[in-house]
Symmetry: C2
Subunit: 446 residues, 2 copies
């Protein structure tokens, strides 16, 4: 069977060995726990959708990046595709809302933590298979939804140990009003948003140049940049002055004001920054937009916003919605670089390894393992009757803190020898008390 | 965007709404917890593999059932596929072992709980996307591996509440020996195994007829069936007599004997049934084979065995291995039919819903929710200032046991009214003690 083919995972994908999964699982567990504490409920959808469900939903660029699945059997020869891999979690959500409209509650708060696939050119930190962790609140236009989402996201980041994150908050219609006020014609807004979306990467000057390159006159570009610059930047009062007389801009400001007011009593209050320059790439946002970031990561840890016209695309009538998507991979990158994972996660696969004294005592080793597991320990059994030194060395190499030895003497006395491989100390304990002894020693540690 | 396209998930796949996910997650958590207690470590691989990694590994039938992914960009027109969806968890494991041979331990005990995709014709209980929960112990031929796997699987089924399961145990070379002894030529073994594999479905008589239909003479078929019938069936002593003089058969029996001896002291001991007629479909097994079943399910809850020549297919040298795969969907089917899930799982999405008194007190409602979450509760906030009766009704419809009301009076007294929607009883409690009050009431229940 072997003809020396590559054993690497496909380009842009990764295998996750145990240590990496433990880190991922730790982050996912925190996210899930907080989302559930806020009343969001889990949803999962298939890895692939009927191809017509996805095509046309992500623009021309998106159509190209969708992984398409060949028809099967005799149709395989046609080269036609009838299925496609999930590209995001929002379109499947919209399909689910239409399909199960009579089963889901009026206010549907769902979270979904699943991989998505995009045929982007792989690059550092950009994968073709990656996880999205989405929450969305459907069925209400109330800013209580935005406030709860901001609060949940803030609590997740705090629980993970991020101290220095901020959540930038803006409103699509506030941004539109600023473009109006600066003198951009409605037809220029799309180009302008694309330029502004790069502010993080190229700065105010860079965006101003890009605007001019896109055919917007220098005076207009300058006025627009001024409205993003301090001191107006981030002050609701200054923005109110700036947008005096612009009705929809003023209304957007009042909505932002309401959200800020609602989160005032939550732990995330100190983390919110009104930022009129926040654009968010996607075109479907209709209200508040938000993005969580830390200083040492280009790009964001996640983002979202209100999109009142998208979820209804399969249903035929609009469903108001607001959502947020956390990027699992980016969170893990920063946590790894900053060494933020609890020590216990990088720890040992088991608490104790039961050694094999000789082939005749293998059954007794398995019995001892069963007793220790009964006592709450995670236990491995060395499979072969190798020399004890070799068995100890194996345990050490795997960071297992204890080994258990049940030699002829120990067994005749109803004891087991427990060796702490970190200190080298070996203690003979009554067999019935061995699990408690190990658990006690492990718990005494910081 | 809407042109009334189907909103169903693709044929053979399912959407999982919250209640269903909670059941799945409960089972997965038990499986993961037990596997880790036994020292198995998590592994995850990409949803798709390079197509040449999968083609030719599952026979002609398998090749047809693999979902293949079209090349992208300009190559899309060629109709060629370069990637394919994961078909099982064993081939990816073999690839991983070759790729990371210097990073994985000498005895690699891994578990992997991920979906696989097969383009089978969808039918009741047969899906095109389903989860496998695999454990495999690599690197040792010791029967300690078999014993630990049997013990772990038994503990999972017991923890899930299965009382009446059995794990049938056989050995590939014991079965071969019985075929020899009955007079089948080696060239007839493949046909015979295929027939025997249907024993569950068509019984001894059915298999005997099928053997004859496959060109095996009636006397040989009859002798073979006799060796599967009681009293020999399941008795190591009787089998030893039957196989006297057949060296490899006798060796296989000794290996089974060793496994039975090793699990004698574990809780799974009473569940093991030696069954010389157990065949298992896959051709790659080389030693012990096993299958877990309950009386009310046609087919098995899972199965596995030793396969010493498969994992090395990418590595170029053999790696001894033994594994077991639990079928998540089948476990859930039986648990659902038997009503085996703990009541708490089908329970409410949150412990309490904070109602909105009026638009002016929304921020206070969110503050109250934050306090209650701080106190350990799962809390939802009603998003709109609807009439209280409507908010109560919404909570009831979602099985939320409590609602919190902070009206003008309550707020002026520093209290909150907590209403138990099941009894209708409403209690005014100091706001600081509200979380403890609800938690206490919930905990007092059975």
């Amino acid at each position: 069977m072997s003809d020396k083919q590559s054993t690497k995972p496909p380009a842009g994908t990764r295998d996750f060995l145990p240590d990496e999964i433990r880190r991922r699982q730790y982050v996912i567990d925190v996210i899930r726990d907080v989302y559930e504490k806020y009343g969001f409920e889990p949803l999962e959808t298939p890895a692939f959708e009927n191809i017509e469900t996805l095509l046309g939903k992500y623009g021309d660029e998106g159509n190209k990046l969708i992984f398409k699945i060949l028809k099967r059997g005799e149709h395989e020869q046609t080269g036609e595709a009838d299925l496609a891999l999930r590209y995001d979690l929002t379109v499947p959500l919209a399909r689910v809302v239409a399909q199960y409209q009579n089963e889901i509650p009026r206010f549907f708060k769902r979270y979904q933590i699943q991989p998505v696939w995009r045929a982007d050119r792989p690059a550092k930190g950009r994968f073709r298979e990656f996880f999205q962790c989405d929450i969305d609140g459907l069925g209400s236009t109330s800013p209580v939804i935005e406030a709860e989402i901001l609060s949940a996201v803030g609590e997740i980041l705090q629980r993970l140990g991020f101290q220095d994150f901020v959540i930038r908050l803006n409103h699509r219609r506030l941004l539109t009003a600023l473009l109006d006020k600066a003198g951009l014609a409605p037809g220029q807004h799309g180009e302008a948003l694309t330029a502004i979306d790069k502010l993080d990467k190229i700065g105010l000057d860079g965006v101003e140049k890009d605007l001019v390159a896109r055919g917007i006159d220098a005076g207009t570009a300058g006025r627009l940049m001024a409205s993003f610059a301090t001191p107006a930047h981030g002050s609701l009062g200054a923005l109110t002055l700036l947008l005096a007389g612009h009705e929809s801009g003023a209304a957007a400001l009042r909505e932002l004001d309401a959200i800020v007011d609602l989160v005032a009593s939550t732990p995330v209050a100190a983390k919110i920054r009104i930022d009129p320059s926040l654009a968010r790439g996607l075109s479907y946002y209709t209200g508040a937009i938000m993005e969580a970031a830390v200083p040492d990561l280009a790009g964001s840890l996640g983002g979202g916003g209100r999109y009142d016209n998208l979820v209804g695309m399969f249903l035929g009538r609009d469903v108001p919605a607001c959502g947020f998507s956390l990027g699992l991979e980016r969170i893990i990158v920063v946590m790894t670089e900053r060494n933020m994972f609890p020590a216990a996660i990088a720890g040992s696969p088991v608490d104790i390894l039961v050694t094999i004294w000789n082939d005749e005592t293998r059954a007794d080793a398995i019995a001892l393992a069963a007793e220790l597991r009964q006592g709450g320990l995670r236990v491995d059994v060395y499979p072969e009757a190798d020399k004890l030194g070799k068995q100890f060395k194996y345990a050490s190499s795997r960071n297992v803190p204890f080994v258990a030895i049940a030699g002829d003497d120990e067994r005749s006395r109803g004891e087991v020898a427990v060796k702490d491989l970190r200190s080298g100390e070996q203690t003979a304990v009554p067999r019935a008390g061995a699990a408690a002894f190990v658990a006690g020693t492990l718990n005494r540690e910081p």
